[in-house]
């Protein structure tokens, strides 16, 4: 049984557009992602720092990071990760 990432918490810097609800919806579109929570930590004239919590059955971190960059954001740090044994193949 291979391990699977179930949850990651990221510190992300992003522009104001797209707004966080659209940012979350776009990340949620990724395969094996079931839930995305975003909360704003700081905000200035051009950017905002948000905490992004991604939960799913088998999260592909590279895909999540790629999507965040595509949306104009940048991942500053991975603050938390939960890994579980995956389902038997």
């Amino acid at each position: 049984m291979s391990p699977a990432i179930k949850k990651i918490v990221l510190d992300v810097l992003k522009p104001h557009q797209p707004p966080i609800y659209q940012f979350a919806m776009r990340i949620e579109e990724l395969p094996n992602v079931n839930r995305v929570s975003i909360s704003t930590q700081e905000r200035d004239e051009q950017t905002e720092t948000v905490k992004v919590v991604v939960e799913g059955s088998q999260i592909d971190y590279d895909e999540v990071e790629k999507k965040i960059v595509e949306l104009g954001g940048s991942v500053h740090s991975v603050d938390e990760v939960t890994v579980e044994k995956g389902t038997q193949e």
Binding site: P15, Q17, Q46, G72
Partner: protein, 206 residues
């Protein structure tokens, strides 16, 4: 297995959804609405000016008015298209550079940049097409006069009525945006059109 028609439909559906999302995210719809109304008003009133000016000049050939009208429409359309694109693009490139400086990142390939580019193109299309589309209906009576050979006087009357109807529709649209009385707003713009026509008619006596 997806057949080609189904794949084409899915592609089109995805394209429309992405475009709609991009336009909403870029905030261009509000700006485009302003461009649409301002430039439609320009187009309609310009055409009214050409019609009334042709009448007081004693033009009897409908093709003369059609030619002048189409020329004016094209000029307004090209002016709107190029002007709006250049202006919007400059503003959005500046805004994007400010965000890039704040984030210390190159956002050229990001969705932020793509929606900016989409917004510039959309604004240009609205700015270019709106005067054209609001002015062209006023030329239809002259076209009909040329084809069906009825007196040009009827075409002048029909054309002015169409111009006033377009102005009324624009006014009603503004009323809808402002959530105020549609008919009142429509009548205000019709009034502006009538005053414009009157002033032009008075030029005849100068």
């Amino acid at each position: 297995m997806d057949d080609p028609a189904n794949r084409l439909y899915k592609f089109f559906e995805e394209f429309v959804q992405k475009t709609k999302r991009g336009l909403e995210e870029s905030g261009v719809l509000e700006i485009a609405r302003r461009y649409f109304v301002m430039n439609s008003f320009d187009g309609s009133l310009t055409m009214l000016g050409i019609i009334v000016g042709s009448y007081i000049s004693g033009v009897t050939n409908p093709y003369t008015i059609i030619g002048a009208g189409i020329g004016a429409c094209l000029a307004m359309g090209i002016s709107g298209l190029v002007g709006a694109y250049a202006t919007e693009r400059a503003e959005r490139v500046r805004a994007l550079k400010e965000i890039e400086n704040a984030m210390l990142a190159d956002l050229h390939d990001s969705e932020v940049a793509k929606t900016s580019r989409l917004a510039s193109v959309f604004s240009a299309l609205v700015d270019g097409l709106s005067p054209f589309m609001s002015a062209i209906p006023s030329l239809i009576p002259f076209y009909l006069s040329a084809v069906f050979l009825f007196p040009i006087e009827y075409a002048f009357i029909g054309s002015v009525l169409i111009s006033l109807c377009v102005l009324f529709a624009l006014g009603a649209f503004l009323g809808k945006i402002a959530q105020e009385n549609l008919i009142l707003h429509g009548l205000v713009l019709v009034g502006v059109g009538l005053v414009t026509a009157l002033i032009l008619m008075l030029v005849k006596f100068i």
